[in-house]
Structures are given as C-alpha cells and as structure tokens.
C-alpha cells in the first residue's frame, strides 16, 4: 500500500500539485482510519489530505482513477488476450470485479451468452437511461466499449480516440432526441417549454453519467494494459492556471473563462486590501490624542491617516489579429473585471488599423458580449487585415497621443509580429516620455521573441518592461504588480 501511495504522490507532484511531505504523511495516516475495501472512502481521504485547492480536483481525480483503478485478475487478462475474444462473458466478469453490477445486466449476459447486437445494445441503453437505472447503464457502457472502441493493446495512447469512437457509434444526440420524444408522449403530447427544458437537462445529466462510465471503463482497460504509471503520464494535463492561452483547446478555454471570474474577484480584493494597508499615511495627531485617553493620556497606540489611493489610468492597446486574439481577449477580460481599481480604463484594438472600443464596455454587464461586439463592430482593418504595428501605433499617437498623461500606464498586448512592415518604434519612445509606464505583454514564449518577423526587440528597448504572459498565473502576477 505504501508503495502505491508514494507512487501516487509522485504522480500528483509531477502533475503540478503542491503536495508537501507532511501532507503525504497525513495521507498515509488517514488511510489507517478508513476501510480499505471502500474505494470512495479512500478517494475522499486522499483528497482531503493531499488536495488543498478545488482547481486541482480534476487533476487529482484523473490520477486517482488511474492509480486506484478497479482491477481484478480477469481484467489483467483482458488486455493481453485481445479484447474482442473476451466479449461474450465480459459483462459477467466486470460485474463481479466491480461489485456494483446490475442483476439485470448479469442475467442477460449470462443467459444469452452472445454479445448483444448493435440494435439490442442501443435499445437497452435507451431503456436504461429512460428509467435512470444507473447499474444497468454502467453494465451497458462496458458492453459498448468492448464493441465499439476497438482497443489495441500496447498502444501508448490516453484513450481519447477510443472514447470518440465509442461515442460516435452510440450517437448520444440521437438518444437525447429519442428520450425527449418518449417524455413528450408520456406527458400526453406536448410539454410546456419549462418542462421541456427540465427534461432536457435531466437527460443530459444522465447522458453525462453514461459518458463518464465509458471514460472510466476505457481507462480501466488501459490501466490493465499499460500499467498505472505509463497511463498517468499520457493523461497528465496542465493545471488551469498553467494552460497556455495560445494553444488551449476549446474545453480548456471554457475552463479558463470559468476560472477567470473568481480570479478577478480575488485580484480586486487583494488590490483593495493592498491599497488600504500597503503604506501608512502621516501621523494623525488628533486621533492619537483622542485614543490616548483610555490609557490615561499616554499615547500608546499611534494613529495614522489613511493614504490617498493612487488610482492609475490604464490605456490598453491590444492586437486582435487571429494569432493572438484569445490572449487579448483574456487580458481585456481581466482588466475590465477589475476596472473599479483603476480610475480610468480605455481600450484600443488594432490589426493594421486601430479603433477605440471603450464605449463597448460601458454599461454592459456581460464582458463576453462586449468582446463579441468588438470582434464584429470595431474598425480595425486598414489595408489587408494583417498585423501592422507600425501603422497602428502611429495612428494611435496621432489621434490619442495627446490624452496620455503622467498618470497613465500604457499596456501593449501583442506578439510584435509585424509582417515586415516599418516598426515606427519612435512612437513608443515618445509615449514613454509622456506616460507613467509603458509595458508590453507578449503571449509568445521568450525563446521566440525577435525570431522571424517578430520585432519585439525594437519596441522592447522603449518600454519600461516586457513580460512574457502565456498563462493565467503570469497574467495575474502582472496585474497585481500593476495596481
């Protein structure tokens, strides 16, 4: 057990979770106090001692499912003998191994002795989902994986492709429609819109459960095939705060968007607090004397004036050409969410033309909607819609340069890939003279700066600082330094 546990802790650390020595010891101690045959209890005991942030839960869960997968001697055989031959009795055995199988599923599997045909499987799945029979759904998920995933032993994959193949064959959207149709008939024809919506959500959650069952099953078989460590390695994913903006997948982007909301709240709280407590103001003589009365006129507790908060003005100038669009989006998101911390935020977007987009954010509750309007309405194309930093910057200087004051911080967002146009770096030089700070945020890895058509070096010398800003962690750090 101890070996498994240390292996597990090592895997968590490799996945980026901060697991300290004491926490590992706590986990070992906790394991003493729970019945080991109870897998759920083990999971919660380990989670409580090892994972100290809800953002890391997903990574923990993946590692746990791999390291403590339900395994039996029969399962070990599955991988080596080839999955397809095992099919007839498979349903049976899995039931015994996991101990949660449905009597129903077992009866059919044992009685028939034949693998279910595609139509039978679909029909049974439909009925199981309709009656929300979880045990049977689980049994059928196993059957479906056997039938459709076409797993090949020994291939070093994480299983995404197997899942995709299974799902394609099961046609979940079609199932959802059938389920809804059945619900409608049961209600006697028509559902009210509210009922329809509720039914849809209910069936979606059931289908989600099926999907999870499929994932689990595929993972179980992969563990049996390749061993926990190897599989954990291929399943390892960056934590939400480390996901690269430029290469995030669609799901990761959704997760990032969700993560940015609490993040902005945290940042705003932290900044407000820093303002209040960061520096003390001058001694407040009157208040000190007033408070000294309770100690008999001895000024034990000196009181200070609160410092006047310095609220900087921010000009955000963002490249929204295709190559860096998602990055610019996150930065605008973040800056606007903590706009209360700045006295004035103005934003400009450019590709080869430049346009001010501040009004789009005004009086809008939903930042995402504002961003959508920016993408569709802002006038940012001048000639051909390829980035031209030089032209954009000189136009910016011409039209808005006057408004930059010594209280203004200018943030330039972009990769400085200028398509070999003129750089017009003098604009930055002028800007720096007039503004409080000029910062450049680049979403590219530092190693790529100045390669190809990137002319960051030319701009960089005129900035107060140039930051690499590829993930939420770096972005958060920058914003807290700024305010």
């Amino acid at each position: 057990m101890l070996d498994v546990l240390t292996g597990f802790v090592t895997e968590l650390r490799a996945a980026g979770l901060p697991v300290s020595m004491t926490e590992a010891i706590d986990a070992a101690e906790a394991v003493h106090h729970i019945p080991l045959e109870d897998r759920q209890a083990l999971k919660y005991a380990l989670a409580a001692t090892l994972v100290k942030s809800s953002a890391h839960w997903k990574a923990f869960e993946t590692a746990f499912e791999v390291y403590f997968a339900v395994r039996g001697p029969q399962h070990g055989g599955d991988g080596t003998d080839g999955l397809d031959e095992e099919a007839p009795g498979d349903l049976d055995r899995d039931d015994e191994a996991t101990g949660e199988g449905a009597g129903l599923g077992r009866g059919r599997g044992g009685g028939g002795g034949e693998p279910l045909s595609a139509e039978e499987l679909a029909e049974m799945l439909f009925r199981a989902l309709k009656s929300a029979n979880t045990a049977q759904v689980a049994a059928l998920a196993r059957q479906a994986v056997t039938r459709y995933a076409g797993m090949e032993p020994g291939r070093p994959v994480g299983g995404t492709y197997y899942l995709y193949r299974t799902l394609r064959n099961l046609d979940l959207d079609g199932l959802l429609q059938r389920l809804l149709e059945a619900a409608r008939q049961e209600a006697g024809g028509e559902l009210t819109p509210l009922e329809e919506r509720l039914a849809t959500d209910e069936f979606r959650s059931r289908l989600d459960r099926l999907r999870r069952e499929l994932e689990d099953e595929i993972r179980r078989r992969l563990v049996a095939d390749r061993g926990a460590e190897a599989l954990a390695r291929s399943l390892r994913k960056p934590l939400p705060e480390d996901v690269d903006f430029m290469h995030a997948t669609r799901e990761e982007l959704t997760a990032l968007r969700r993560a940015i909301h609490p993040l902005t709240r945290k940042l705003a709280v932290r900044l407000a607090r820093k303002r209040r407590h960061g520096r003390k103001g001058a001694l407040d003589f009157r208040s000190t004397v007033r408070h000294s009365l309770s100690t008999g006129g001895v000024p034990v507790d000196p009181k200070f004036r609160y410092p006047r908060p310095a609220k900087p003005e921010i000009f955000v100038v963002a490249d929204i050409s295709g190559s860096v669009a998602s990055f610019a989006r996150f930065t605008l998101h973040l800056v606007y969410a903590i706009a209360s911390q700045f006295s004035k935020v103005r934003s400009f977007v450019f590709i080869d033309g430049i346009d001010e987009v501040t009004p789009f954010f005004e009086g809008v509750d939903d930042v995402a909607e504002a961003l959508h309007r920016i993408n569709t309405e802002a006038d940012v194309v001048w000639v051909d819609g390829h980035s031209d930093y030089g032209h954009a910057l000189s136009v910016f200087w011409e039209r808005w340069g006057e408004e930059i004051t010594p209280r203004t911080s200018v943030l330039l967002l972009g990769d400085a890939r200028n398509n070999y146009h003129a750089s017009q770096a003098w604009v930055l030089q002028e800007m720096r003279h007039r503004a409080r700070h000029v910062y450049w945020l680049n979403p590219e890895p530092r190693a790529y700066w100045g390669t190809g058509d990137s002319i960051l070096d030319e701009y960089g010398v005129h900035c107060d600082a140039v930051y690499e800003c590829r993930n939420l962690r770096q972005l958060e750090q920058f914003v807290s330094e700024l305010a």
Partner: protein, 339 residues
Amino acid sequence: MSVPDDHAAAAAGSGGIQGPLGFPDPGPPRFDSVADVRDRLAQAGYLADDGMAGVVHLADRLAKPVLVEGPAGTGKTELAKSVARVTASRLIRLQCYEGLDESKALYEWNYRKQLLRIQAQQVVDDDDPLASGAGRGAARTWHELEEDIFSEEFLLTRPLLEAIRTGEPVVLLIDEVDRVELETEALLLEVLSDYQVSIPELGTVRAERIPMVFLTSNNTRELSEALKRRCLYLHLDYPSLEREREIVLTRVPGVSEELADQVARIVRSLRTLELKKYPSVSETLDWARTLVVLGVESVDAEQAKATLHVLLKYRSDLERAAKELSMGEGDANRTARHA
C-alpha cells in the same frame, strides 16, 4: 487545562497530547464510522454526502482541523453547527474580519483591572511605611505585583484560547478565515497544529481535550500554504439533484415530494446557465418555503417566473433565466421590475 511553570517544560513536549507517531491523541472518538457520522448528522437535519461525512470522520480520528471551502450558501457554517449539535459540544465561533488581531482572537490582558490592582497596591504601600522606602522590600513587592497582575485573574480569554482552556467538549468554528490578512493567519497556526497557545507571561496553555475545528472560506483569496497544510480540505460544491431534493424535503416543513423534486430540478437547470451568482442551497430553501407559503402544489412557468427573484439577485440574471427557461420574453421584464 494545564499551565506549565516555564517555557522549558513547554518545549520539552511532555504533555499528554502527543501520540506515538507524533500525532496528537484525539481521545475517545466522537464517531464510530463514516456511516455513523452521516446518520447522526441526518438526524440533526443536515444531509451530508459521503465525502463530507468521510472528512468529518477523519478529522475526528486524526485530530486535524477541517478547512471547508466553497461558494456562499452551501452549508459550510451549518456543517460545523450540526457537528456541534450531534456531539453535544459547545460551539465556539470566531468570526473573522479584516483587522482581526491577537487581542480579539486569542487573549488580552485586562489592563483596566491591572491598573486598578496597581493603584490598590499603592494605597496599601502608603499605609504601610515599612514596605515603602526600604529598597529590598520594594523590589520584592514589585516582583510579587508582577506575578500578581499577570495571572489568570487578569486574563481575558478570546475564542481561540477559550476553546482550548475549557474542559467540556468543544467545536471551534473559525468562520470566513479568508477575510483576515495573510499575516494574521499566522495567529491560528499554533492553535491549529498543536492545540496550544503560548502566552509569554504565563507559559503555554495546552488543550486537555482536543476540540474539533472547522475553518470556512469563501475563497476570496488564496490561503497560505502553512494554513492549508495543517488542515484537511473539504470542498463543498452545490449538491447533486438527489441531495438537494432531500435537503428541501428535510428542511422545509410541509413541502410535498413532487414540489421538492420540481424545485431541485429547476434550480439545477438554473445552475447550468451562465449567471453572475448561482442560486445557493439556502436560496433554494427560501424559494421552496415561499412556494409552500403561497400554497403552490406544483410549479408552472408562471409561478416560477413570479417568484424567481427569491433565487436570483441580479437583474441580468433574472432576465437571462426567464429567457432560457422559456418563461416568455415580455414577462421577463416584469419579473425583473418586481425584483
């Protein structure tokens, strides 16, 4: 409570709370098993899922504090209260806020009383010419006086010290720990890891019985590693459909099963939308109570729309919910105006 004479004794660690592995000995267990935790909490009207019950059970066995984190209104504080109720313990609560300090959290010297004591001494001295004047006598008196004014009589205990000193079973709830500054968190560390409080003038005060400790956090900032390391972590999220239905059934008197089911399902659908603030469990309960008071047997779109402002607190959220749940465009605005 035990008060060792000096720090050496405290440092030697000869107290009775160190177990064989360096873990504090938690004393007789409060709960037999995970199932026991769940059943007893359920009897007290708090429905815990396996994860929560498991963590509470572990906290009891390992004598470790539990850090409960999650969105507002998911029953974090209620968990601590319920545990106190089922274990027949006293609940000592420390509400955290910005600017909380040692004298509000741990202990404070009652300096007004100390001043009085000193003044009383002067009166005695003036009456007694022998004591005043003679240098040696004065020094001795000063020493006595110092011993005297830094004794327990002049100590005002605050929640943390109180939880440790008292002999009766205690559940200590440190509420919204994320509201204190990062530096103030350090105050908690000694109490949380060793169940002791060091008072320079008195020595170290140890817990005789280890209290159960719950810390709650709304996650408005990252807590320090040092604090997290000392705690078991429990993330309380919005409950599953089944659990929410059960919660509504137990907590709302007079609610029918059908209504509870509908309430839980509508709330779940609302939580799948992109809202500013998701309806919490306590708001679900408020909504269910509202519906019961209104005499609603089964919710239709019309009634849901009219009472939605109990669940959602933002105008934009109300509009979106009304639209998404197909309650009709035009009426959505009316609902919003009601709110």
